[in-house]
């Protein structure tokens, strides 16, 4: 399936939910925030939030800044 994550488009297969994606990317959920098609996905809902072809996601975290 085609996903646009943080502005980069790529194929991701065998993923059903945001949980699957976060796991596949090897990310630590509790330090993240995920936006799916402009709507924030609460951490509690990762497992229940399906992904479909063409979805656009933003996955962000905290970095140093002034």
């Amino acid at each position: 399936m085609e996903l646009i994550i943080n502005g980069e488009s790529a194929r991701y297969d065998g993923l059903r939910t945001v949980s699957d994606l976060v796991a596949a990317l090897g990310l630590e959920p509790k330090k993240l925030a995920v936006e799916l098609n402009r709507a924030i996905v609460p951490k509690s809902a990762y497992g229940a939030t399906p992904l479909s072809n063409g979805d656009t996601l933003e996955i962000v975290h905290f970095v140093g800044g002034g």
Binding site: N6, G7, A33, I59, V60, F62, V63, G64, G65, G66
Partner: protein, 256 residues
């Protein structure tokens, strides 16, 4: 000594908030935060780097349990971007105390006050506790306070310029009228600038470049810690009057 600083119900012993940008390493950043005695640090919200996963992580150096993370909206030039960024920050961090800044242009990073006020109102409605970066316009400062902002954070001078407190009169007017904490954000270049800000009656100072770009950031962080205490205590102590001529300190009586 001076009582503690209370922002949105949270109590802080330190009146010095520092940024976490521009340091050579997060490790240096952590040592600076330690030396500054900071209890709150500003952080930015950025995309996770999916290609290089081994990059050092801020949270591994500055423990969010030890330092209150204050997510900012640096780099946002519209109210919408700022709101979207802070909603993501709230989801990532799980807290609602944030620093709002909506900037006008890349060259001056001057606050866009109309958009800033608009964003502040929407964020407060949405349950955020908003510490707001703003110009030193006392009228807009009043509007931001009336809108329910948790702290008013006027610039001393342009972000990263190190020019100090350019307009002490406006800062003084904002201090005189405000019931919420007033924190000078941006412009401090060296220790005496921070002392001057506090002597005007500000409740705190927020800085990043002055520490991060000092030749020795750790030592400058300590300098800033002392400067903020010095300025606060001098404000509370009430300075002597200035005089046009001299006034001897030793008694005139009893001279041989």
């Amino acid at each position: 000594m001076s009582a503690s600083l209370v922002i949105a119900g949270r109590e802080f012993r330190s009146r010095l908030i520092i940024g976490t940008g521009k340091y050579k390493t997060y490790e240096e950043n952590a040592r600076a935060a330690e030396a500054a005695g900071a209890e709150m640090v500003t952080v930015a919200v950025r995309r996770v780097n999916l290609t290089d996963r081994d990059k050092p992580m801020l949270v591994d150096f500055l423990d969010p349990k030890k330092y209150v993370y204050l997510p900012n909206t640096a780099g946002c030039f519209t109210a919408d971007d700022a709101i979207r960024t802070l909603r993501l920050a709230r989801e990532a961090g799980g807290w609602s105390l944030v620093k709002l800044e909506v900037l006008a242009d890349q060259k001056t990073l001057y606050p866009e006050m109309e958009e800033t006020l608009k964003a502040a109102k929407l964020l407060i409605k949405d349950g955020f506790e908003v510490m707001v970066y703003c110009s030193d316009d006392p009228v807009y400062a009043r509007k931001l306070e009336d809108a329910g902002c948790a702290a008013i954070m006027p610039l001393g001078s342009l972000i990263g310029s190190g020019l100090g407190i350019l307009n002490p009169v406006n800062i003084r007017l904002i201090v005189e009228q405000s019931k919420v904490p007033v924190i000078v954000d941006a412009g401090v270049g060296t220790a005496s600038d921070a002392a001057v800000a506090m002597e005007l009656g500000c409740d705190g100072v927020l800085m990043n470049t002055a520490i991060a770009e000092a030749k020795d950031p750790i030592l400058m962080a300590s300098a800033m810690k002392h400067a903020v205490i010095a300025g606060r205590e001098a404000y509370l102590a009430g300075r002597m009057a200035k005089k046009r001529y001299a006034d001897p300190s030793s008694p005139l009586a009893g001279l041989i």
